[in-house]
Subunit: 233 residues, 2 copies
């Protein structure tokens, strides 16, 4: 199977959680925008906000025009029982925009650079194009392409989203590897014939029973550097 | 006006002719694929092929799904009076694919690197996404984003093509500069409220009367490095 994987032409990366750590910057942003006198575990709330995205995104499915930022806003309000702490409009906007502050895991920048020497490396993310461009620019992360929910007109795991990305790059599913820290994402990709590589991350798939899933490969350590070792070395 | 230009957030670049030289690699590809005993000035033919693209693309307009490669194929056959020299199917495919061999003008790589420090720099090209990704990858040219005719579902100068690119990046026209070696392209961008910068190139706009056009700025020398001097230094 590893030879099969090595023969792929493109790697599609889930972004939030897989390539970047969202938890620290989002928890920080929550602390900075905390309404006065508020006694909340903001790290715990960050997980709640993030989890609600995973509940909402699959219901959006294909062909919608709800932006990533609108989804984040809805999830923020829902997770806080309709803004129970009284965030101002500015604070809500700050929080939604704070997703641009995500930071690459320590293996991401170097791993991506190695992988790009051999493969087309693109995001395939539920984020927005502008957010991915801005976040990568801030961090000097270079990609071959960005595919995002607005460009692909839908949210993972809708199959059309993966299919449109492959069509634009003129690739067949067997030439493509989906790389993610989320089992649901890889399951959707595998159903279309894409190859799948799972990268466990400390913040992702908490409470998911991985025994229920099969991936072509799991990178047990080293993140994107570990991935580069498997695919290139 | 230069202060206005400096305040832009994104630069959209026409690709073929403006950022890269297509003439040498295409003329070479024609020589390499010349049917035996064929006495043709291939450089002259390369111009003929390229010119026919400019005749055909505007007729394709908005919302079509004709690929860049299909257009190039049609133009190649038309320009050669329906393949008068008897190219094989393989040779025709080679020639259409040879557009990936374009080479950056000597100022392009360094100029782009400088400009990206301050601006979002994206292609806005009638090429295909895959071709732009592959060509840039071959040449180690790093972009913030690729917008191409397949992603934008149409061909310049259809206004919707420029509008979709701006919408995806969430930018208003006055925040965007279109950079091109083609007056028709800048005219279409200006009509939408985008700012315009003209970069003359030896292979482009031959026979075009520039007195009939107005641009916000013309970079009289230095190409993308000259552009960086105007916008950054």
């Amino acid at each position: 199977m590893e030879n099969d994987l090595k023969q792929a032409k493109a790697l599609f990366f889930d972004y939030f959680g897989t390539v970047v750590d969202w938890l620290s910057p989002i928890a920080n942003a929550l602390v900075e925008n905390a309404p006065a006198g508020c006694d909340v575990d903001w790290k715990e709330f960050a997980f709640k906000w993030r989890s609600s995205f995973f509940t909402v995104a699959p219901t959006l499915g294909d062909g919608n025009s709800v932006t990533f930022e609108e989804v984040q806003r809805r999830c923020l309000l829902e997770s806080s029982s309709n803004n129970q702490w009284g965030w101002s409009e500015d604070q809500i906007n700050n929080l939604v925009q704070s997703w641009v502050l995500v930071v690459p895991w320590e293996d991401s920048a170097l791993g991506l650079r190695k992988l790009r020497q051999k493969y087309i490396c693109s995001t395939l993310s539920n984020g927005s194009t502008r957010l991915l461009v801005d976040a990568s620019k801030r961090q000097n992360m270079e990609w071959d392409m960005f595919f995002a929910s607005d460009l692909l007109q839908g949210y993972k795991p809708a199959p059309e989203v993966y299919q449109r990305a492959m069509k634009v790059l003129r690739l067949d599913p067997h030439e493509c590897i989906m790389v993610a820290a989320h089992a649901y994402d890889l399951k959707a990709a595998a159903a279309l014939g894409m190859k799948t590589i799972y990268i466990p991350r400390a913040t992702e798939d908490l409470g998911v029973n991985l025994d229920e899933y099969r991936f072509d490969k799991t990178i047990s350590s080293g993140g994107l550097m570990g991935l580069a070792s498997v695919l290139i070395d």
